[in-house]
């Protein structure tokens, strides 16, 4: 066993628990971001093999020092709900899709969230384009590959894709596409574009 203790042993390939009796799959994740009500949960639900799960973080915004469990604190408590879904690629690989609120005050969560993420799909409602600005800002600065997906949930778009691209002023290599969050095939195709971006980045990273 001693020969396995070389200092380089821990680095390199993405193996997990090779000594474990039960082999855990390798998890990968894609982030679905955007403002409230743009269809993040619909997107996650369309592709997930399980009903989307919600993990919650509750935080009190203004009630400093108040500690009365008997009182309703609806006004001062903000619930950050993150919906996520799972897609089993095969026995050894699982794709997690996390839907995350795009509000500025939730930005602190994203550092954790994007660590190791393959990429992100920013969901846009053309009626409220500016809702997605925080997410676009964040992913640009973080260097995470992302794709802008205009949700045609209502079967209509107030603005064309060109106009959306103009409004967002994203780099030319950031794809701006339309998709329908209700349909699995449509969400799948949007995620495949995200993965293409992720692959480009991973290959570039490897060759340098």
């Amino acid at each position: 066993m001693d020969f396995e203790q070389s200092p380089n042993h821990a680095r390199g390939t993405a193996r997990v628990g090779n000594d474990q009796p039960k082999k855990a799959p390798v998890p990968v994740k894609i982030i679905v971001a955007g403002g409230f009500g743009v269809g993040k949960t619909t997107t996650v639900g369309a592709i997930s093999e399980i009903a989307p799960l919600t993990t919650e973080a509750e935080m009190t915004a203004a009630s400093v020092g108040i500690d009365d469990p008997g009182q309703a604190v609806t006004k001062t408590t903000t619930t950050i709900a993150m919906d996520f879904g799972v897609l089993t690629i095969d026995q050894t690989l699982k794709l997690y899709i996390f839907g995350t609120p795009g509000q500025p005050r939730f930005a602190f969560m994203w550092d954790d969230l994007i660590r190791g993420a393959l990429g992100a799909l920013v969901v846009v409602d053309t009626n409220r384009i500016d809702d997605c600005y925080p997410a676009v800002d964040y992913f640009e600065r973080a260097g995470l590959p992302f794709v802008v997906g205009v949700n045609t949930f209502n079967g209509q778009m107030t603005y064309s894709l060109e106009e959306v691209r103009w409004a967002l002023a994203v780099r030319d290599d950031v794809p701006v596409l339309s998709f329908d969050a209700r349909f699995r095939a449509s969400v799948r195709d949007a995620l495949l574009v995200v993965l293409d971006q992720a692959l480009d980045k991973a290959i570039r990273a490897k060759s340098t």
């Binding site: 009903a51 903000t78 550092d111 660590r115 190791g116 993965l195 490897k206």
Partner: protein
């Protein structure tokens, strides 16, 4: 929004975690990643009100433990006294499960879940399958692409 799971093996003793406080610096920063490199110090950039179940710890979470990190029971674990929340976690992890799924199914705050999973790992009760290399490699991405293309 939530989908209650009737098969929940165990509910935590308390319905939800005591609300904690968000205060301080991140409000000013906007949507900026906290730094170019991911360092453990990032874990401490937000000041949260101490959690109850974790005996007040908010920053004990191992930065290696992500939301998607897979967790399994350590079969060789020595039986020991555990809090109800910890027992619930151990009971769930007979099959590999992600930290986020544990949090959702037990309705435990995500931050609390990460800390408790870290504690259980340190106590030898759980195996936490931390990836050697968390930067996605092209081969893995290709497998995801092939897998996604296969679904209809």
């Amino acid at each position: 929004m939530t989908y209650p799971d009737p098969d929940d093996p165990a509910r935590p003793a308390r319905p939800s975690v005591r609300p904690f406080l968000q205060s301080g610096p991140q409000a000013a920063g906007g949507y900026r990643p906290s730094s170019g490199v991911e360092s453990p110090a990032d874990e401490r950039t937000t000041t949260l009100r101490p959690f109850v179940i974790t005996s007040g710890r908010t920053d004990g979470a191992d930065p290696e433990i992500g939301m998607e990190t897979q967790v399994t029971v350590n079969q060789a674990a020595i039986p020991m006294r555990l809090s109800p929340e910890m027992r619930s976690i151990v009971a769930l992890c007979g099959e590999p499960l992600s930290v986020a799924e544990i949090s959702a199914r037990l309705r435990l705050h995500l931050g609390v879940t990460r800390i408790l999973v870290g504690d259980l790992r340190a106590a030898g009760q759980l195996d936490v399958h931390v990836l050697d290399n968390e930067t996605p490699d092209p081969e893995t991405i290709m497998r995801v692409i092939r897998g996604l293309r296969a679904i209809t």
